[in-house]
Amino acid sequence: MVSDVPSRARRMPGLAIPHRMRWPLGYTAAAVLVFLAYYYVIPNLGAGGQTFFRNWLPLTSINEALVWVICALGLNIVVGYAGLLDLGFVAFWALGGYTAGWLMSGFFHQVKIHIFGGATATVPGIHISFWLVLLIGAGFCALWGVIIGAPTLRLKSDYLALVTLGFGEIIPQVFTNGDNIGGFNLTNGSKGITPVDPIGIGSTRLGPFDLVWKYLIFVLIAAVVVFITLRLRDGRLGRAWLAIREDELAASMMGVPLMRTKLSAYAVGAVAGGLAGVAFATHVGGVLPDRFNFSISITLLAMVVLGGMGNVWGVMLGALVLAWVNSTGLPQFGSSFNEEFGTNINFPSYNFLLFGGILVLMMLFRREGILPESRTRLVLHEPSRTDMESLGADMEAPAPELDESASLKTAIAEGPVIADETGTGTGMGEKV
């Protein structure tokens, strides 16, 4: 695991690569390797090899998985860092997607706006460059993150989850039914907005088969999100999020302004959701409201939990694996299985059975995820003494006088023994 805890670096003094540079180098190396594989190696494989990759690991499934990675990293900020359970994260994915739909298509045929757009200058509609739309989508979603976050500020745990769930349902519904808002067609209803302009780099336009280049762009966006996530985590804001996750009241007593800190978690998380939305719209070439349903929120959450809540690399792994299983692994396994045994089972329709099963097993045997956040691992496996002892302390509270005299006696009895014990450094009389 590439961890960024500074103490790690202290413990590995002989490392030649500076700690700060480790993940960017590793990430770039992995990305370039995949790029080279799909650009040079696979096209030159024999027919068998090509078929294998086309069936089991097509580049389009990797691209889609990267979109999931971007979005899951955003959810990780809200859930993993700040500890705010969000069951409606699909809302931001949808908002980002529709930003791309509105600003990169001929949908608003009433106007003709071209800003470095990916379409011929004569066609109507709003055609803004993909890169600008990324920024606009991010900003738009940050705003919505705050709007959606604000009513949840005073809520905790279950209630918070329910309100976010509500927003996750409302926003896709608005898009589905938004084809006649006082006579104005905002979203084109259930037909969605297609096609979305291709991504433009300079004067070239990426067509539907330029998957390798789209891959590079998505990898770049994911890298930016990883960078922002890690930088924020190690900064002042990250510490404030962490403190809120650990103990909201205590955090507030340390001077952490709860409202602002929570809203910034929603906003930053939503930025990643928006980036994923814009990327996804260009990946599939359009936006359709029925793609943004509740199951997306759940899948995102499963990615975060499965990978390792709070750990960027764990979340990335979780997202890559689950997205691949969903889009390629399971259908391909199904068709191979059916071919082999002459059965006719619809494997992809069992994906949630599979995910649910995996989650149950994870919760039973590895609650902290595949690649856990380093601080979680320890505490989950060595049961926290806080819970036990604060419970004990509460139980002692009702009878203070009794407790007082009893403990005075033990003090006299154990006094010398404990005084000698300083070297062992444990909790003295508190040992269980």
Partner: protein, 247 residues
């Protein structure tokens, strides 16, 4: 330790509560409590369970609203100041039940205590001072706070509050659930904290130990002030001895 009361009271008060009323919903937990803390003092609030001691501290640090009455800290009104602003004003609160951040290391917990401060050098100096007060914490700097014993967590909670470099430190039941030897350590530390210039308002059920270190004491009974005075006098008051000191 005590007995300096007469001299101190001629000074400007640091904290002044004037007839405050604090409610949990419709239930009055503190009814018209008045209390004064002067700079450099250790003042203790004693009383049985449910007397309103912790409630008073929570009201001061902005965790609970004060329905009537006024609170003044260093000449400025404290009513309605949100909890994260109260720290900025110079009041740190080491809460009941310790409430350390379990998945953060001891070092990170201390760091959180100084969340609002930007003076890096002074923070480092205060950290050093706290680690001298609690040598046990220095041994455990890289340990996750949640895996420490209750006594160590209590030390951390007090140390973390001190990291805010407060002028007034509110301590809520620092001895609760601790082994007697650790209780002594905590109370000795409270005296040393005062020696370093921090005023302390201490809530304790362990009235004996609290009266021993405090200059003055307020005795609360079901949300109201029963009596107050120099700690050494109260420690000999027959009624107090009977009610709170198990005499």
């Amino acid at each position: 330790m005590s007995g300096a009361g007469g001299v101190i009271e001629t000074r400007e008060p640091m904290l002044e509560l004037d007839e405050i009323h604090v409610y949990y919903g419709n239930i009055a937990a503190v009814k018209g409590l008045s209390l004064t803390v002067y700079p450099g003092e250790i003042v203790t609030l004693i009383g049985s369970n449910g007397a309103g001691k912790s409630t008073t501290l929570r009201a001061i640090s902005g965790l609970l609203p004060v329905r009537r009455g006024t609170m003044t800290f260093l000449g400025r009104q404290l009513n309605g100041v949100p909890d994260h602003e109260v720290v900025r004003r110079g009041i740190a609160h080491s809460p009941e039940g310790r409430r350390i951040f379990p998945r953060m290391t001891v070092d990170e917990n201390l760091d959180m205590g100084a969340f609002l401060r930007k003076d890096k050098e002074a923070i480092a100096a205060d950290r050093e001072m706290i680690l001298e007060l609690f040598p046990r914490l220095r041994e455990r700097l890289d340990q996750k706070a949640g895996t420490m014993s209750g006594g160590e967590q209590q030390m951390l909670a007090v140390g973390r509050a001190m990291m805010a470099r407060p002028q007034l430190l509110l301590l809520d039941e620092p001895s609760m659930g601790l082994a007697p030897v650790l209780v002594d350590v905590i109370f000795e530390t409270i005296v040393r904290i005062r020696e370093q210039g921090t005023t302390v308002l201490l809530v304790e059920q362990n009235a004996l130990a609290a009266l021993d270190v405090a200059d003055r004491a307020y005795v609360l009974e079901s949300g109201s002030l029963k009596l107050h005075g120099p700690a050494d006098e109260l420690a000999e008051d027959p009624e107090i001895v009977k009610a709170y000191l198990g005499g």
